[in-house]
């Protein structure tokens, strides 16, 4: 594998084209990732300047801290409430939208509209809906005889409220991806299944779900990563409260770094976030992708 002058020259040309993007990635992705690891072994002053070497003490503090354990729990619960339900709801709506009808595109645009809605806008609207006295949600619940909770004040319902908001925010993306998946299924397959007597629920579980499984898997990976990174909803709805019930890992990083100015400790949390996302993605590819049926 000797490098000829030609090899070097062509690499030079290639790098020249890659240079602008590579520069940005090196400065704002790769070096910062390294610095996050590095910072996690140090104590910092409130300005962020490194003061003393701390070894793995931040990690030991994390493992023994009740706040950290509760923040892992909050992150897990949040993902668990949001991702499966969001994908399932998206699939049902995508099947509903996958009809050949005049004017169907109007319905598609309406249901996909949350793609364009920012987390800040969505959170402000849901903040009103969850309001115990002014919000419509509890009024509607009271009409069917249910006494609505004080959504954002009780720990158990606060995380559910954040999850509901997030499901709504991701619904548009989920619908579009699944609709495209459904449209990629050749009609002959449905036709053949119908001739074999498949109908309704059976058709859905035996034919539709396996055939859109690549899209379902894609959303599982993408939605999980997105939920683990969610910040805006939590900041605007609950600020991590009540009693840390919605203090997810990302929100913990924000509080420790930018409210308490413990950059070293928050960097250790960032490393955990990075490893967690990596590990979950690898697990999903190793174990869940086996269930996916690629055509």
């Amino acid at each position: 594998m000797r490098w000829t002058a030609r090899d070097v020259r062509s690499l030079g040309v290639g790098l020249a084209y890659l240079a602008p993007a590579l520069f940005i990635f090196v400065v704002f992705v790769f070096i910062p990732l390294g610095r996050t690891f590095y910072l996690s072994f140090f104590n910092t002053r409130s300005t962020g300047v490194i003061s003393t070497f701390n070894g793995i003490d931040h990690y030991i503090d994390l493992v023994t801290s009740a706040t950290f354990r509760s923040s892992l729990l909050a992150t897990g619960l949040f993902a668990l409430y949001t991702v499966p339900l969001g994908i399932a709801l998206g699939l049902v709506l995508a099947v509903l939208l996958n009809q050949r009808l005049r004017g169907i595109s109007v319905f598609r645009t309406m249901m996909a509209s949350t793609i364009a809605i920012s987390a800040a806008v969505g959170s402000l609207i849901w903040l009103l809906l969850f309001n115990p006295s002014l919000g419509l949600l509890n009024y509607v619940l009271s009409l069917v005889g249910v006494r609505g909770p004080e959504w954002l004040i009780q720990p158990t319902t606060a995380i559910i409220a954040v999850a509901i908001t997030t499901i709504w925010l991701t619904l548009g993306t989920n619908i579009i991806v699944l609709l495209a998946g459904l449209q990629g299924v050749p009609e002959e397959i449905y036709e053949a299944a119908r001739l074999d007597g498949a109908r309704g629920a059976r058709m859905f579980t035996r034919i539709t779900v396996p055939l859109v499984s690549p899209s379902l898997f894609f959303l599982l990976v993408v939605d999980t990563v997105a939920v683990l990174q969610a910040f805006t909803q939590i900041h605007l709805l609950t600020r991590g409260g009540p009693v840390d019930a919605t203090r997810t890992l990302v929100y913990s990083i924000y509080l420790d770094a930018f409210q308490n100015f413990q950059f070293g400790f928050a960097s250790a949390e960032s490393v955990v976030l990075f490893v967690l996302i990596m590990a979950l993605t690898i697990i999903q590819f190793r174990f869940v992708e086996r269930l996916v049926h690629y055509q």
Partner: protein, 294 residues
């Protein structure tokens, strides 16, 4: 599925309908009814925000909570304009988002060109290096990035808001897919004609890839315009706030005026909703690029 097959599947606009025997008019009406009810439910929070933006605070406080304004007025919009510099927020967001779009189009098309037409050793490794950035959550690097921007003196500046986002692995990947569909013969012919590498990119590849460039542009705009965490961190001056951070401030005011907040919400959401309606096809192409196995 081949690259061209994928494009066909994505480009197909009409649904492959689940045919039922004998499309009865009643069944059709039922479909429409169901679709209408569900669509309104999904869009309900947004429609409600629109309705509340026309309500007075007095109407909003009545019980049961109203759905439609009793005395529709534009007061809230006037109050938003008087309370926060929303024009300036919109301007800031537009400047930053446009800068990011232009930057991403340039860096991503140059990189995608290298990954599709140029042949050099180490190309595969570099391509994986690009893709690996998709696996690194921005939040895990946010502390050093904040420190970088601060040490550059870029807090409260447009460059601080835009520069970290001038490259996009997702956009590079998308453009590479599009560039690879351009027939190799065009490249060979251009070489024979003595065209330079860069001229081929500018005069052939870019014009032939407008739809994919459109997708990258819309994505870049939407994701930058809708950002909240980063602008919250690096802006402090009111006049440097972006739309998302700006309207969220209304939530932290002493007396929460819901009509006002909802008017702000609508003003901020209108540009992105317009983009959704105009660029729906591009958006769908982008979202589905990763979902169908190549």
């Amino acid at each position: 599925m081949s690259a061209s097959g994928r494009a066909a599947a994505i480009g197909r606009t009409e649904a492959v309908a689940v045919q039922r025997r004998g499309p009865l008019p009643i069944r059709k009406a039922g479909s429409y009814l169901l679709l209408t009810v569900v669509s309104v439910l999904v869009a309900f929070p947004l429609l409600l925000a629109l309705s509340y933006s026309f309500m007075t605070e007095f109407d909003i406080a009545t019980f049961p909570p109203p759905v439609l304004p009793a005395h529709p007025s534009l007061d809230n919009y006037e109050k938003v304009l008087a309370t926060i510099p929303i024009g300036r927020y919109l301007l800031n967001s537009f400047i930053v988002s446009t800068a990011v779009v232009i930057g991403q189009l340039i860096t991503a098309s140059l990189a995608a060109y290298a990954f599709s037409f140029l042949v050099f050793r180490g190309r595969q490794v570099l391509f994986f290096l690009f893709l690996s950035t998709l696996m690194i959550p921005w939040e895990a690097t946010i502390i050093p990035n904040y420190m970088t921007i601060r040490s550059l003196g870029w807090l409260d500046t447009y460059q601080g808001l835009a520069v970290p986002f001038l490259a996009t692995a997702f956009g590079t990947f998308l453009l590479r897919q599009a560039f690879m569909q351009i027939p190799r013969e065009l490249w060979d012919a251009a070489r024979i004609d003595g065209s330079t590498t860069f001229r081929f990119l500018r005069e052939v590849v870019i014009p032939l890839s407008r739809p994919a460039l459109g997708t990258v542009a819309i994505y870049g705009f939407l994701s930058t315009y809708n950002q909240y965490f980063w602008p919250l961190l690096i802006t402090n001056e009111t006049l440097m706030r972006t739309t998302q951070v700006g309207i969220a401030q209304l939530r932290f005011e002493e007396s929460l005026r819901w009509g006002l907040v909802m008017a702000g919400v609508i003003m901020v959401a209108v540009p992105t909703l317009a983009l959704l309606v105009l660029g729906q096809r591009q958006l769908i192409r982008g979202l589905t690029a990763g979902a169908v196995k190549g």
